[in-house]
């Protein structure tokens, strides 16, 4: 690995456009993918990695079309199997900076096992899971992240299988870097993508992605202007976790359970997230928080150093 770990600022280096291909993106107008493409190419422009060392890989799905729109090396592989291709490419050429783009069906239905094993092996690969809680490309069937009760083309009576929480699963799989960002916040995406790149090892980033066509508004509470303050929480390292319009709600621990207390100052049992904690237990609990009961946690859940796949075995 020869990638620099000191990251340049935005604005320095090549322009974002240099990382865009000439192909016109074929997503529905308003699809969250556009924002991801923007943030990702903006990140590429800031990395200081020469374009030829970047590889953008994907499976199959709307979201997996992304590599066609970048000017890096790219591989649009098979539904669910991109993690396997990514590992092979990375092991064969550790100098490459490998970015893996996947959808919720791709990464968690057909590809769930490859995702799991990618994450536990800790190769230096960055995986973005663009989670729109639906199968977009095949026109609207339930995915493993579709919420209970959702009526889709394949669940005319509503989804009955409890959804997977991708961040919790990634943590359980032992991922060394785990984050969650909404597609509405390109600044947060860029920041987290940069941190993912800086992390030595596997990085898993769930992007809450809006599919305007088949599941519009899935993240309305979390990303809506009016609701987001109450229903999301930005993870911060080292300080007690708080949220709310007035920043006066605190996450506290009650016999191992997370509860919310309202208070002007941090209560004594206010929880502090240490992304480098020896085990991901607390991070997993935070990952499970779901509006409207608890706020959706955004940002970096975990960031620990561990031996990286290629190095471990060399």
């Amino acid at each position: 690995m020869t990638l620099p770990t000191a990251l340049p600022e935005a604005g320095s280096g090549p322009s974002r456009e240099a990382f865009l291909s000439s192909a016109t993106p074929r997503w529905c107008p308003g699809c969250g993918c556009f924002a991801v493409l923007k943030s990702l190419t903006a990140t590429y422009a800031r990395l200081g990695v020469p374009r030829e060392k970047l590889v953008t890989l994907s499976g199959i799905g709307c979201t997996s079309r992304l590599p066609y729109y970048t000017a890096t090396y790219g591989f649009h592989t098979l539904h669910g199997r991109a993690p396997t291709v990514a590992i092979g490419a990375k092991l064969a050429n550790p100098e490459l900076s490998v970015w893996l783009i996947s959808g919720d069906g791709d990464a968690l239905a057909i590809g769930g096992n490859h995702t799991l094993h990618l994450l536990r092996r800790n190769p230096d690969i960055k995986m973005l899971l663009l989670n729109n809680q639906i199968y977009g490309l095949t026109k609207g069937q339930a995915s493993p992240t579709s919420p209970l009760g959702l009526h889709t083309r394949s669940t005319p009576f509503g989804v009955s299988d409890p959804p997977i929480n991708p961040v919790n699963l990634a943590l359980a799989a032992g991922a060394t870097f785990v984050a969650r960002v909404p597609d509405t916040n390109t600044a947060m995406m860029e920041e987290v993508f940069m941190a993912a790149h800086a992390h030595r090892g596997v990085a898993f980033v769930e992007v809450l992605l809006n599919c305007v066509t088949f599941h519009d508004g899935a993240y309305q509470l979390i990303t809506g202007k009016d609701s987001r303050a109450e229903h999301s929480l930005r993870l911060q390292t080292g300080a007690p976790m708080r949220f709310g319009r007035d920043d006066d709600r605190w996450l506290c621990s009650d016999n191992g359970r997370i509860v919310v207390r309202q208070s002007a100052t941090a209560p004594a049992d206010a929880l502090i997230l240490d992304p480098q904690a020896p085990d991901p237990g607390l991070a997993q609990q935070l990952a499970l928080m779901t509006p409207p009961v608890l706020p959706c946690a955004l940002g970096i859940f975990r960031q620990v150093q561990a031996p990286v796949l290629a190095e471990a075995a060399a």
Partner: protein, 626 residues
Amino acid sequence: MNQAPTAAFTLDPDRLDVQLLDEITVKFAGDSGDGIQLAGQKFAQLASAAGESVRTLPDFPAEIRSPIGTLGGVSGFQVRTGVGEVHTAGDAIDLLVAMNPAALRANRDGLRANAMVIVNETAFTSANLGKAGYTVNPLEDGSLRGLRVFPVQIGKLTRTALKGLPLSTREIDRSKNFFALGLICWLFPHPKDEIDTWIGQRFAASPELAHANQRAFHAGWNYGETAEFFVSPLRIGAGERMREAGLYRFITGNAALARGLVLAAQRAELQLFLGGYPITPATEVMQELGRLCTPAVRMFQAEDEIAAIGSAVGAAFAGALGATSTSGPGLSLMGEFLDLAVIAELPLVVIDVQRAGPSTGIPTRSEQADLLQALHGRHGESPLPVLAAASPKDCFDTVVAAARIALRYMTPVIVLSDLSLASGAEVWREPECAELPPLPVQRAVPGSEFRPYRRDPETLARAWAIPGTPGLEHVIGGLEKAGESGAVCYEPENHEQMVHLRARKIAGIVRDIPPLQVEGDRDAKLLLVGWGSTWGPIREATTWLRREGLPVASVHLRHLNPLPADLGPCLRRAGTVVVIENNTGQLWQHLRAHYLLDLQRLNKVQGNAFKVAEIVDHVHSLLETV
């Protein structure tokens, strides 16, 4: 059936000097804990070191663990050694070492008439006889008539020899394979002192064990020398024992596949990347590569076969020679990725070490029934080259040939081996890397007109545009593409052109296939055709039949797709063609479709190889009716 037609072993009881033989088939058999494999392997190595031609074949119990002493628990190791042509592990056993009643019973039917049988009499207790299913002791009821049975108290004598050593009885009993080895080594004879040294080295970690095994070995040797009933030692006659200079070693088919991949990649100056997942009988290919691990050789144990081939595809994309090894059930999972490699045009070697199917089938038995799957087991029009190895050491040459095609034509290639080749072994001289013909790789070069799928006009292969190279950035994938730019393209005519282009590219590999080697007279009336592991028996049968003066020839196919250009004329020349396979006629079907010829077939689907005699008999009966 005839007695096996190769130079049969006959012991002349009247001669007391050393007896010269052309060849002999020896089998060690016992319980799976009896150290049979080790004794057999050592014996084979000694024969080979003496310059003999050797072919070995182990057989393992099919079950995880059958109860000790039962038929299911018998493990065997067969060694055929000779001066002449030794291309099979032998139709029938000339000399059997049976460590218990089950080992005798399991191999009874495999014995040649008049064969020597050394039995460990100590194990012939009524309990053991019962476990083996004998109601009467076969040593006593005359049922072994026609055999030369030598009962030896191997167990008892070993205990006596090792008495006083600081070992438990169980440990002492584990040395009895060395007693047997000693006895057999005296019989041939093989150099005692070298074996002694080898035992010392082999058990260096535990000097007590080394010492015990050495003692047992000497006890066995001395027993041979002093016991009265062995008439005389044997010796394999001095035939053409000449070999090229070089490093020789015993190699199994699986090890040869691993070595071949390594050397091919090295010759092409590429990294080798093998993604694998354990499966009998292919596991050793990945394990062997795991041991050879260097920066240029990488083995990755994946979570399943899909991930195994997926990682190999990724490595090929990134500029390595990608490979994977599996058996039938794994190949059934790889179709989708093979298709991707076909359309993306990536160099990949996929090894299928076949076993008896369908489904889980009989994982510890051999078969050749994955040919049609290799040819057709993918959706869409998805042509790819298929090669097959003919013998353990031919696994090396075949996989190198496959790598050459993969790299020259930018295509996945399937290499078929099978269980009998995988675990069978023969002597092989490992070539230096530089001895292999060059394996050039066509790399794309940056330039204003770079197009990822620009093609070589002769081979129709694209040049490899490897990530990391500035100026060659491009995206590949599984969607249909325009033939040069690689851009996604849904045009009807383009699709048809691409389907034909992919087919022509693979068909064009025929130009790299060397002319067929006909064994025997090119104009012989009867032609035997085989592929894969049937080579050994077919070749020996051909020799035998020609010695009989019969008008028989044979050809063996390494290339199953595309078929060699001269195969059609060759088949048409013969009056009768018999396609010989360990399946129900898959090559036969493939050849019928290609050449519209009414070929005959000889098939055996019993999980084991043809006997030479089976082929000879079949030809005899054919020539009678013709």
